[in-house]
Amino acid sequence: MSQSPDTPNLRFSAKAVAELESLKTHYPNLKACILPALWIAQREYGGHLPPEAIAEVAHRLKRSPAEVQGVATFYSMYNTGHKPGRHMIEVCTCLTCSVCGAWDVAAYLEQKLGIKMGETTPDGMFTLHGVECLNACDRAPLIQVGDEYHGPMDEQKIDALLERLRNEPESKVVALADALVQVHLKEEEREKARRAAEAVRN
């Protein structure tokens, strides 16, 4: 590939490029596209935002990588640090959940997976995380996995959920990023992206 030294390696799919083009029409400037573009990037880069992903977003929005990195690191749902496991399990330990058994849920998950909060299983399958209120406290104790909320949790439900996730080849981290991209887009914009993806395939 012959690219100028300033052009980072570009990895966005045709679909992603079409999605970003539509998003640009939602705001009066490119800077406002940074957050949604980071969701696209998190999906395109497999659930993670390595420096190359940041550079690509910056390039496509004509911003500096430092600016985009600064924005991304502010928000806890952008995975700018270590690459997370295939599925991220977020355990709410906030107020209602903590008085409704969240510490037991957390301890049980740690024991079942053999890791502590913040760690990833050696096979790269699961990352465990403690999170603040997910604002579904009527279902305490609650956990989030990608685009799904689960609660109230008990040991049996945790067992069943882990079993299901082990057999789920699609990363839940990627599923969440994709879901959030899709909700930004109008019907005809989603259709446009679908056609762009198809055109490449044919």
């Binding site: 924005v71 107020l95 209602t96 008085v99 279902r139 969440l176 899709q182």
Partner: protein, 427 residues
Amino acid sequence: MGEYKLLLRHSHDPAYATLDGYQRLGGYEGLRKALSMDRQQVIDEVKTSGLRGRGGAGFPAWIKWNGLPKQKTKPHYLICNADEGEPGTFKDKQLMETCPFLVVEGMTIAAYATQADVGYIYIRGEFVDAARSMRRAIDEAYRAGLLGKNILGAGMDFELHIHTGAGSYECGEESALMSSLMGERGMPRLKFPHAPLPTISGLWDSPTLINNVETYACAPFILSNGGAWYASIGASTKNSRGTKIFSVSGHVRKPGNYEVEFGTPLMELLELAGGMKGGALKACVPGGSSVPILDAEACQKAIIGYEEMMEVGSMVGSGGCMFLNEHTDIVEFIWRTSMFYKDESCGKCTPCREGTRWMFLILDRIKAGQGRPEDLQLLEDVCRQIDGRSFCGLGDAAAWPVAGALKVFRHEFEHYVRHGRSLVARG
């Protein structure tokens, strides 16, 4: 008094989340009525209704609606604050999931009244189901000519977009939300009187109206039934009108959202939620993590209303109502509260950044049995240093629950410091 279901009346009917079903059940009457009135009349109806912001602060809605310039020189923007992050609150989530058209119609009415061209619903990133529900509703509304160009043939244009957050409580604060929407870190901005109001200079320095999900969802009812009708609900209170949705959780049998008329006793919420579970009532945080905790005695006296709640020492807030039973260790509960604010402080100003950290560290050592006799005084000092001195409302919100608990449940803190352990036997 029981429940007063206005917004949530059809929330259990899946058809209500479709345009057909919504219109069959009275949907879009409010917008039709609004479009037959002039803009100022719409704002006057909202004024008559007495509607106050449901996002936490209870600011009169009509003042903001009326605050955007009548002579347009720039685009006008509308924002729906759907970042619902206040621990204990989950009403906006349910409204978006089950009554999405109330939000779309409410925003469209507000857009008409304020001459807004473009609206954004800022939904927290974790709320995928709510965002999908809003997406479906917006797509349907566009298809039916209820969004976009020449809405209902009345010559009104309004574009409505969804923008999602990415994990930050602070982005619920309106100026931080605007920073985030413009593609920046979610830091708050200088506020009135040191800077113009958002209604004059908000998003991209243009006039901007920002309201909470529940606030907008009230607008269709106010327009279709009239402001005076709305104001007759809750008329027993000093200055709170209409209904309020409370998200009831904690040690209750039937946690969930319950909509009540202002003027309803707080204990009715507990009854609606099926009563206490696992032990007698000890305490209640009635309006989300930021508001001061009430003991059982105060709960008995508390009436739901903005002023009425302050009379017993707490606030309506966002309506995140947590009931706690006798086995709850209040010190641990407040420790967990302080951990939340320490984690979520954006770090821009010193009183909050340092203060929330110190509050947590002191509470952490008290909880670990290492508390010192002077620690309670120290905690109170830190609260005083934060309250009113921080750059945005998060600092105050972090200080209130700690200061409140030190007053109401002081004996539990003292017991921890004196004996190095909890007063409460674990149930």
